[in-house]
Amino acid sequence: MSALAANRLPMNRLLAGFDSLQGLQHALERLHEAGFVVLETYTPGPVRAEDSGSRLPLAMFAAGMAGFVGCFGLMTYADVVAYPLNIGGRPAFAWPAFVPIAFEVGALCAMVAGFLGCFMVCRMPQLYDPVDECDSFRRASRDGWFVAIQTGDPDVAARARTLLDALQPTSVEAFCA
């Protein structure tokens, strides 16, 4: 905790670390039961094993299909309307030949949508966050499983500390935001 921040703002949040996923999950259950506001978890790996619940795959599919259809349409327009070229009587609308480029452009659109969409929904880039002030937070990208809760007034903070201490955390740190 930086001295500067500590002097100015009340410590209204708590960051508790656990040394395993199971420890964190247990703590989350207890915190929910006790009615605390769980703000966020910070973990070195996914908390839930399954990857369901994200809408990004749908967005990527939509962007991919839009790229495919748009590119296919553009090629059709170019070869049928804008610049029809008769090569030995072959059809202007040579649709099988349009598939490879349409596929590549569609794939590129889906990739770009996935990348940008991921940054958007993950709220990245965000180079500073109040939780960075906690020293123990460094372990969140290594082997520490953290949960941040809203405490607000000192009574709630004291209750939260009592509850968390019983769950054998590796660290409990207060910070402000």
């Binding site: 395993s20 990857d51 994200s54 990004l56 349009f98 490879p100 480029i101 794939a107 991921c118 460094r138």
Partner: protein, 475 residues
């Protein structure tokens, strides 16, 4: 030592894979490794204040070769492609064959990273960053060749379709234009896929970094990734779908490269087997280059407990499988030539196998079909000097294969009056060596400054391994 059954009771059965020779029954990851020790070790490689001596020994010559590429390109732009050995009838020379060679190497990296992600292969986890770096720098080396080969490279943007005062459109029915789009997609998609996988690992390095410069650089690269629930959920989801897109994209790019050839009415090219044939080649060169990279790196970086004998065993088996696929393609190439009955095709094939360029043809067969057969032996699949020698031969063999396809097909066109031969010039070789230097410099920079093992995926792997072995907690 490596014979199955003998090593079970041997005294080193309980030794860490770091300290003994690789074995086929090594675990994919040493059970003694924890999330913490693995993360610290990989981060400390990226955060070393001084480079390893071997790193400089490798980097200086690589960089010198990369400078040679700069000189070669500068002279090419000044003098034109007449400085190369290409001429009628062999008008596709080193530029195209090296392009195909590099794109195959890159594709092999994508196959390991994306395809085996989808199949859920555990051994892929510790290799994927190396494979993706190989994909990125291979694609970069490949990507410059077609532009250099254009002759008037400043008009390369004509390949895009854009509104222009000439009211012209690109020729969408040509495989060469398909190839342009496949390459554009592949290069950009590779960069996005690679970077998205790196973001959580940059966060780990950022949190271990000391010194304001490193903290800032890795902090910016991590883009503020903190491992929140929302970030993991969406990043994993996006990465999974990206892998599912990369897998068909990589098959498409090498198939389309095959169609560049098959679409031309040239003896030796005009065959429907080319797209899968080229994809087989991509597999073979990809597995050999990744083996060539991991065998020295696992020792030099001390990651033998993450890249174990199991990885060598699996990759050598895959190399053998792709060698058999390629052999089948060579056989079919010969079979269809004589079954088809086209005289020009037959003449070209006989000349390819028995005349001026016969060493290229039989070198290809020896290096790509015959030598990899040693990997039927488990003992040799774990013998690192043997693996390195075979893989070097395969890399050369794959280059010879492209030489055979490009040059020997073109040197015997349909009209005997148009026959000719091809020889590379100094500038052909300097450009090729230059791209090798560029590739190696890129890989070395990645090894030095990036987390070279995908730490967040390794943490998941370590946790699942521990859970499977019945160790609770301490994930």
């Amino acid at each position: 030592m490596n014979i199955p059954g003998m090593n079970i009771a041997s005294p080193d059965a309980t030794m860490s894979p770091r300290l003994r020779a690789p074995r086929f029954d090594d675990p994919v990851v040493d059970p003694r490794l924890t999330s913490a020790s693995m993360t610290d070790r990989i981060c400390s490689i990226a955060l070393r204040s001084q480079s390893y001596p071997w790193w400089w020994l490798a980097f200086i010559p690589s960089m010198a070769l990369a400078m040679l590429l700069v000189v070669s390109i500068a002279y090419l732009f000044y003098a034109g492609i007449g400085i190369w050995g290409i001429n009628w009838p062999v008008m596709w020379g080193f530029a195209i064959l090296s392009y195909v060679w590099w794109i195959a190497i890159a594709s092999g990296g994508t196959i390991i990273s994306a395809l085996f992600f989808l199949t859920g292969a555990e051994w892929r986890t510790s290799l994927n960053r190396i494979a993706e770096s190989m994909m990125l720098f291979g694609a970069a080396a490949a990507g410059i060749y077609p532009i250099l080969h254009l002759g008037r490279p400043w008009f390369f943007y004509w390949l895009f379709f854009y509104p222009n005062t000439m009211t012209l459109w690109a020729q969408f029915r040509s495989p060469l234009l398909w190839d342009f789009w496949a390459l554009v997609t592949y290069v950009f998609a590779s960069i996005l896929f690679w970077f998205l996988g790196l973001v959580p690992d940059f966060a780990s390095v950022r949190d271990r970094a000391t010194g304001i410069a490193r903290q800032r650089i890795y902090g910016i690269l991590a883009c503020g990734f903190r491992g929140t629930g929302r970030q993991w959920l969406n990043l994993r989801a996006a990465y999974g779908v990206m892998a599912a897109i990369m897998a068909p994209v990589v098959v498409s790019i090498h198939s389309i490269v095959g169609l560049d050839f098959a679409g031309a009415a040239t003896p030796g090219w005009h065959t429907t087997e080319f797209p899968p044939f080229f994809v087989f080649g991509a597999l073979l060169s990809g597995f050999s280059i990744v083996l060539l990279l991991i065998i020295p790196l696992r020792r030099l970086l001390g990651i033998e407990d993450m890249v174990t004998g199991r990885h060598l065993d699996v990759l050598c088996k895959l190399l053998l499988t792709s060698s058999l696929c390629v052999s089948y393609a060579y056989l079919m190439d010969a079979f269809t030539t004589f079954y088809g009955g086209d005289r020009a095709e037959r003449v070209m094939f006989i000349e390819r196998a028995l005349e001026y360029y016969r060493y290229v043809y039989w070198g290809t067969v020896l290096f790509n079909c015959v030598l990899p057969q040693v990997f039927w032996s488990r003992r040799l699949r774990l013998n690192q000097p043997v693996i390195v020698s075979i893989c070097l031969c395969v890399v050369v063999g794959m280059w010879l294969e492209r030489y055979e396809i490009v040059v020997t097909s073109l040197h015997r066109p349909n009209l005997p009056s148009a026959w000719g031969t091809y020889h590379a010039t100094f500038w052909d070789w300097s450009t090729l060596l230059g791209t090798v230097g560029m590739f190696l410099s890129g890989i070395l920079l990645a090894v030095r400054y990036l987390p070279i093992v995908s730490m967040h995926e390794m943490r998941t792997l370590i946790a699942t391994t521990k859970a499977r072995n019945g160790v609770s907690g301490a994930a």
